[in-house]
């Protein structure tokens, strides 16, 4: 199954066909998502049920954990998923992301054709287990050093932040509609992530997926805006940094500015 109304080129079309041929026939995207969110929701219930008389300052573990996950995801994306590594696990992440996800989806065609295409976007179901195991270390430390509530809340925040990431990334690859176009944060993420899927930029810019803020902080955003602009930019293209999209022009060895930048200049 493939999209009918699409501007994707032949290369992308062939890649998607090849990828689908290699995906197991029994794969079911709905089952994949159900496993992730059932496991995540169950974990959140357990973590919440273990908190007792939470003090106001203990709630700060939630934003801290949420931001920590988003920062970690940025680092993983920037330094592992787009950079080949020797380590087998890290290299698998690079292959799955740069050589699969980014070839399957380009800025010309970002959409799934159906639920079987979700496999190339969601992390495998066992990711939740891995994340939980990784979260235990800082959460246990926080539980011992600060308070038990902080430990449980930190676990909850890290899990919720991962679920948020998956939701946002999923929303970046669905068809445009009124809801995603007007929903704050989601509309910003959609434009930000589509720009990241520009093959001329994908190795360098817009590595934050759940939020564009790490890119703003680290100077890897395609936008020339501040904190609030990065949070609520939406679909606005008027703040894209001019001259950013420079790919090698074999004919003249000069960078080729993108059309928008050229028009502005």
């Amino acid at each position: 199954m493939e999209l009918v109304n699409t501007i994707m080129g032949q290369r992308q079309r062939k890649y998607r066909e090849m990828y689908r041929e290699r995906v197991s026939g029994w794969y079911n995207g709905w089952l994949h998502v159900m496993i992730i969110y059932l496991a995540g929701s169950s974990a959140l219930y357990i973590y919440g049920a273990n908190t007792v008389n939470v003090q106001w300052w203990e709630w700060l573990a939630l934003p801290f954990g949420f931001i920590s996950y988003q920062a970690s995801e940025y680092i993983l994306h920037m330094y592992v998923m787009h950079r080949p590594r020797k380590n087998v696990v890290l290299r698998a992440l690079y292959i799955r992301h740069t050589l699969m996800h980014h070839q399957f989806f380009t800025k010309e065609e970002m959409r799934f054709a159906d639920h079987k295409d979700w496999r190339v976007t969601f992390f495998p179901p066992f990711t939740m287990l891995g994340l939980t195991l990784l979260s235990i270390i800082p959460s246990l430390a926080a539980g011992i050093v600060i308070s038990e509530n902080v430990g449980w809340l930190l676990m909850a925040a890290l899990t919720a932040s991962y679920m948020f990431y998956e939701l946002i990334h999923f929303c970046c690859h669905i068809d445009d509609n009124w809801l995603v176009r007007n929903m704050p944060l989601i509309n910003t993420a959609r434009r930000h992530h589509t720009a990241h899927h520009d093959h001329a930029l994908m190795m360098r810019v817009n590595m934050g997926i759940g939020t564009a803020l790490p890119d703003w902080l680290m100077g890897t955003s395609d936008l020339d805006r501040g904190f609030w602009g990065h949070l609520f930019n939406g679909y606005d293209e008027s703040h894209v940094r001019p001259g950013l999209q420079k790919s090698f022009n074999a004919a003249g060895t000069r960078p080729v500015p993108n059309r928008q930048a050229a028009e502005r200049n």
Partner: protein, 103 residues
Amino acid sequence: MKIYSGDRTIDGVIVFVNQAHLLPDTGGAIFSDTGFEWGYDGPGPRQLAYAILIDHLGDASRAKALVPRFVEGCVARLDNEWSISSADIEAVLNSPERTGQRA
């Protein structure tokens, strides 16, 4: 004149020189032992620049010296799939050094 081309495929990164595979260990894996990459400055792109320059110049020490310049002027700017000629390489090596800002 030689034509160098590269692509990211489902089975890995491939680079050709006139239809023949250009191997990542051309001249030794001195910048990276994880293969070629491009589109940014790092070990993989430097290894690609080194392999192309050795093939183009036939001089390993000169190739190594010119790697930073060639990465900045060409390899870090290559698109997902690309093709360059010997003349393009010469043009990059003979062009003024860039000081432009990149993300």
